[in-house]
Structures are given as C-alpha cells and as structure tokens.
C-alpha cells in the first residue's frame, strides 16, 4: 500500500467537476483508492463519496492506494492535483 498527503492547490478545491476528473482517472487503475480528510473516508472511485469530503483549496487529503498499480495511480493523482485539475487556476 502507498500513502501520501496531497494539498489541493486549485482555486475551487474538490468541487464537482474536479471530483469527476479525479474519479475518472482513478477508474483507469485496478488499485483500490481511499481518500481521507479529518475523520471522513471516501471511496476514490465514487464521485458522490468524494464530494462528501467537502474539501476547499488548501485542504490536505490523505490518499491510500492499494493494488497492482498503486505506484502509477498515486503518481497520476499527484500530477492531476498539482496541475490544478487542468482548470488553469
């Protein structure tokens, strides 16, 4: 299992479209993806679950990924978040 804390740097944080992109990216990997914030844990492959995290800009999320492609999944997610979900700001 790989675990990493990632900080949201895009202006709107984990809003609906960003959550959809994150989930769609996660679905391309076989590994199980869990995202936690405070005492709430979300399934990284379910948009409605991810939205429950209610995470604005600056929030640190803990990603726990387990499975055959866990390293690749973490790298891809890290990149998406740091590219500000390709939103430009």
């Amino acid at each position: 299992m790989v675990e990493k804390r990632l900080k949201l740097v895009n202006k709107l944080g984990l809003h609906a479209r960003a959550a959809a992109k994150l989930v769609q990216l996660g679905e391309t990997f076989k590994s199980e993806i869990k995202i936690s914030k405070d005492n709430v844990e979300a399934n990284g492959k379910s948009i409605l679950s991810v939205l429950l995290l209610a995470a604005p800009v600056g929030t640190e999320l803990t990603f726990s990924i387990q499975g055959p492609d866990e390293e690749d999944a973490m790298a891809a997610i890290d990149s998406l978040i740091n590219r500000k979900f390709d939103e430009g700001e």
Binding site: Q24, I47, L48, A54
Partner: protein, 136 residues
Amino acid sequence: MIGILIVTHGSLADEIMKTCFKIIGERDTVGAYSIQWDDDPTLATRRIEKLLKKLDQGDGVLVLTDMFGGTPTNIMISLSKNSHVEIVTGVNLPMLIKAVTTMSTFNDLSEFAEKVKQQGQKNIYKVSDILSMKRV
C-alpha cells in the same frame, strides 16, 4: 445496455441533464424531455414514446421524473404498459450522476431502478449534520 430518460415539467429535464454532462461528460444513451406548460400532452406522449424507442438498446429504460402524480409521471405510467421501463420519481443531481456513471454495470432494469432510488434518497443531507460530524 440500459438507457436513461429524464422527464419533467418546465425545462428541468434538459437543464439537469446538461448540468450532469458538464460534470461527468456527455453520454449518448441518456435523453431528456421537458414538458412545457402549454404543451399538448397527447403530442408530448407521442414524442416521448419515440425517444423511449431510441434509448432502449434491449435492456429497457430507466425513467427519472420530477414528482409522483404530476403529468410527466402520469404520461410515463401510461407508456409503461407497452414498453420496458422502470420509473423513479424525485430526480436530483446526485441521483442522476450515480445513475449515469453506473448504468453500464447493470443488466437488470428493476435492480438498477432500486439502486438509483436508494442513492437519490441517501444523498440528501442536512449540511450542519455533516459539518458537525467532521468536527468530532
């Protein structure tokens, strides 16, 4: 493959579908029919029937309507006698997103409709409850 059709009063059906597509991307097996206030119900029924035929790829169509007892639901009940549909009322955005993102994983229309109904109900929150849960 199961199809999805949203039918409502006013422009809600088209707008909620557009909003859903904006978030998760467009899908071609999802359709909407907004019954405007001055539309002729007989004409609307004929058009919806055509749309249903187009959306039914063999496993039936899940119809999401706005409110039980309203014209959109009543029209769908009348059409259900001759087509393979399940109707779930009270369409909301989380319900629609869940339905559209999981439609390809179901073969059984009745089971799919039950799941979508549950998700629609489950995803209504009193926000202060969620926020106080996070503070614990």
